[in-house]
């Protein structure tokens, strides 16, 4: 039964039903694959089901984007009924924000699932079926998260995408490193989720509602001046820190690269990791009430962007470079939200989703061709894989922020937003990151596609199943860039010197990478040994000790605690049980001797007993 329509929001059943269709199609595919085991074990057939579902969902999302782009529609159903209105509701909230995310999620999901058919061709059929089951579940969860009209529904789907991330990182669970990475990703994001759920419940205790619209209405009426709202929003922000891999919880994302490349493209670049940014963008009306949290968000975002960029500069695993780059770009988005420019952050989220998925899929094609992740063992691939090379360079240029590609405009909008808010230091960190981004990405390009070291194996252009998605994403990256250049979507204009500065920084980074890795004019080793860089280089190679710190904490606290529990279990709990059982055994052993086997002994016992009874009856029983 639909509940009352929130204030100021349209209710168009057609719009919400279309959104429901988008979210339920992957769910139907998931249930089908999960329940019908023979279909799942067919592998490619399971893939076809999953792809068909997401393809229709994509068309529906596209339709919804063109028809209801500008308005907001919401429909909710009672989930936990109570006397005075339901305690919690489920439903869909279709507004420009979620509509754009619907298109992005279904598009990238569709392309990734098609790409996976070729990328995972050599997998056993049941494993492939399992892969597509998880993929469908992920698509459903992510779409459900995007459409959530309330914090509680968002949290449920938030955890579901976390679960899918865990399952897909550990897809090759026979590899110990993949299993470990999956657990690490799960636990570290869970650390943030703990804050998220506590924040939600505290907010509910204070206001009595989970609904975004009710909360926003309260915020508008200045009725949200709750004691401790800062703490609540900080806790909710913590959830985004874990999910969107912000410092200091960023350590799980590089390890998550143990999963297949398409999984990294979908979950750890374009969609799930951006859920944190999406959530803070969605809850922006609440965050603006607590400027301190916003400032913290801006600083942490900018710092994460710079930190991850330096880490990417010393990494030699192509996917891990991209992972640190993702962490860095998520830092940009968070910084934009923190600076009060959520539209810029969200624009960067969308463009980044396109070109980072493109880069990951391109990296997957390269890895598929040469059979290694190490960029120092690749080289000259442009000659053997020209198409992959072209699309990878398009993605790289977009990430570096060169016009007229999509990344330039969104990154400029982010920088403008941060500059306008007067956060000078975060702005400088982000500007420096622009240079580093261009540098580390072109380091990868030069080493992989142009380097002099011949690549191992027999590299070859991938099949069309893999090339198709790459070309689609590359084309979209260019088209979106041109569309943004046309100006209609450009929200923010910074000062006049901003665009030349960011382009100059990007070109500087490219020139540096060219000089170091293509021309050989500057020796990377020598440059890294000069004073201020040598310290950063040494620290970055140790990942600033953050991974080590977590490992140490894990060993120190959790293992010590486990040992304590183990000791109690082994010696106290088991001790009592062992003592009782030993007592029984010993008693039985002693009593056993009574059974001598001689009939006469038994008769003797009976006679003696009767005698005792007689004596007792004679003297005591009176």
């Amino acid at each position: 039964m639909p509940t009352a329509v929130p204030h100021g929001v349209g209710l168009d059943p057609a719009a919400t039903n279309m959104a429901l269709l988008v979210v339920l199609l992957p769910f139907v595919a998931f249930v089908l694959l999960a329940v019908v085991a023979p279909l799942r074990r067919r592998g490619q057939a399971a893939g076809a089901v999953s792809i068909a579902a997401i393809a229709v969902a994509f068309l529906a999302a596209l339709f919804s984007w063109f028809v209801w782009k500008g308005d907001a529609h919401v429909q909710t159903w009672a989930w936990i009924p109570a006397d005075e209105g339901p305690t919690a509701t489920v439903g869909v909230l279709l507004d420009p924000l979620s509509n754009a995310m619907l298109v992005l999620v279904t598009l990238v999901s569709l392309l990734v699932q098609i790409y996976s058919l070729a990328y995972l061709r050599d997998e056993r059929a049941p494993s492939l079926g399992r892969y597509y089951t998880y993929q469908s579940l992920f698509a459903f969860s992510m779409l459900g998260l995007v459409l959530s009209p309330s914090f509680i529904q968002m949290f449920v789907f938030w955890e579901l995408v976390g679960l899918c991330s865990y399952l897909l990182i550990g897809y090759w669970y026979e590899r110990p490193s993949a299993a470990r990475a999956a657990v690490k990703a799960f636990w570290i994001t869970k650390l943030g989720d703990l804050g998220f759920v506590i924040g939600i419940v505290m907010l509910w205790t204070a206001t009595g509602t989970f609904e975004f619209h009710a909360l926003f209405a309260l915020a508008q009426e200045h009725a949200l001046a709750i004691e401790g709202l800062g703490t609540i929003m900080l806790l909710i922000y913590l959830g985004a820190v874990g999910k969107s891999a912000q410092f200091p919880l960023h350590v799980w994302l590089p390890d998550a690269m143990e999963g297949p490349a398409p999984v990294s493209a979908l979950i750890h670049a374009a969609t799930m990791v951006t859920a944190g940014v999406f959530m803070v963008t969605r809850a922006q009306p609440l965050f603006v009430l607590v400027p301190d949290v916003l400032v913290l968000m801006g600083w942490v975002g900018a710092f994460t962007a710079l930190l991850a960029a330096t880490l990417a500069c010393v990494e030699s695993d192509i996917k891990r470079v991209l992972a640190y780059s993702t962490v860095s770009q998520l830092g940009y988005m968070m910084a934009a939200v923190g600076a009060g420019a959520p539209d810029a952050g969200f624009l960067h989220l969308l463009t980044h989703g396109l070109f980072k998925a493109l880069l990951f899929l391109g990296a997957g094609a390269v890895i598929h061709a040469v059979g290694t992740n190490d960029i120092f063992r690749m080289g000259g691939l442009f000659r053997t894989m020209p198409q992959t090379g072209v699309v990878f360079i398009v993605g790289t240029l977009a990430l570096a922020g060169l016009p007229p590609l999509a990344g330039f405009f969104s990154k400029e909008a982010v920088l403008a937003g941060v500059w306008d808010s007067g956060m000078t230091w975060p702005f400088l960190m982000l500007a420096l990151s622009v240079l580093l981004t261009a540098f580390y990405m072109f380091r990868v390009v030069f080493l992989t596609f142009f380097g002099r070291v011949p690549a191992t194996g027999h590299p070859h252009e991938p099949s069309w199943t893999m090339r198709g998605p790459l070309w689609v994403l590359a084309t979209l990256t260019v088209l979106v860039g041109i569309r943004l250049a046309a100006g209609s979507l450009r929200g923010r204009h910074g000062p006049g010197w901003l665009a030349p500065l960011s382009v100059a920084a990007a070109l500087g980074g490219i020139a540096l990478a060219w000089a170091m890795y293509q021309r050989g004019a500057v020796d990377p080793g020598r440059l890294a040994a000069t004073f201020p860089l040598s310290v950063i280089d040494a620290l970055a190679r140790r990942r600033y000790g953050i991974d080590g710190l977590y490992a140490g904490l894990y060993r120190g606290f959790i293992l010590a605690f486990s040992r304590l529990i183990g000791w109690i279990d082994r010696y106290l709990v088991d001790g009592v049980l062992n003592f009782v059982s030993a007592l029984t055994l010993r008693g039985g052993d002693l009593l056993r001797r009574i059974q001598s086997g001689y009939a006469q002994d038994y008769v003797y016992g009976v006679a003696f007993g009767v005698l005792l009874l007689l004596v007792w009856a004679q003297w005591w029983a009176r």
């Binding site: 009574i594 059974q595 001598s596 086997g597 006469q600 008769v603 006679a607």
Partner: protein
């Protein structure tokens, strides 16, 4: 003679029989002891029947004698079988039921 004299005789015979059952090593001796104990009971039954003028004691005695005969027949048969198997009827050597 008073009833007590008969009862004392029966008690003595019973004690002798019990002593035999407990101490004899030979299975035949144990059977003999059991016979003595049963007959001590018979003496008691007959004595009480005589002094109380109740014929039911005599009837019980006849039953007891008949059952005793059967018991001896079965008991001796078991002893003979044991002898055939174990080549001994010493009670000390028959401890198959030891725990």
């Amino acid at each position: 003679m008073s009833l007590n004299a008969y009862l004392t005789l029966a008690a003595l015979v019973f004690a002798i029989g019990l002593f035999g059952v407990l101490t004899r090593r030979n299975a035949i001796g144990i059977l003999l002891g059991i016979e003595l104990m049963l007959n001590a009971v018979n003496i008691n039954l007959v004595a009480f029947a005589r002094f109380h003028g109740d014929l039911r004691g005599l009837v019980f005695t006849l039953f007891t004698i008949a059952i005793t005969v059967a018991e001896v027949a079965v008991g001796l048969a078991i002893v003979i079988v044991i002898f055939r198997v174990r080549r001994t009827v010493e009670a000390d050597r028959l401890d198959l039921l030891r725990g």
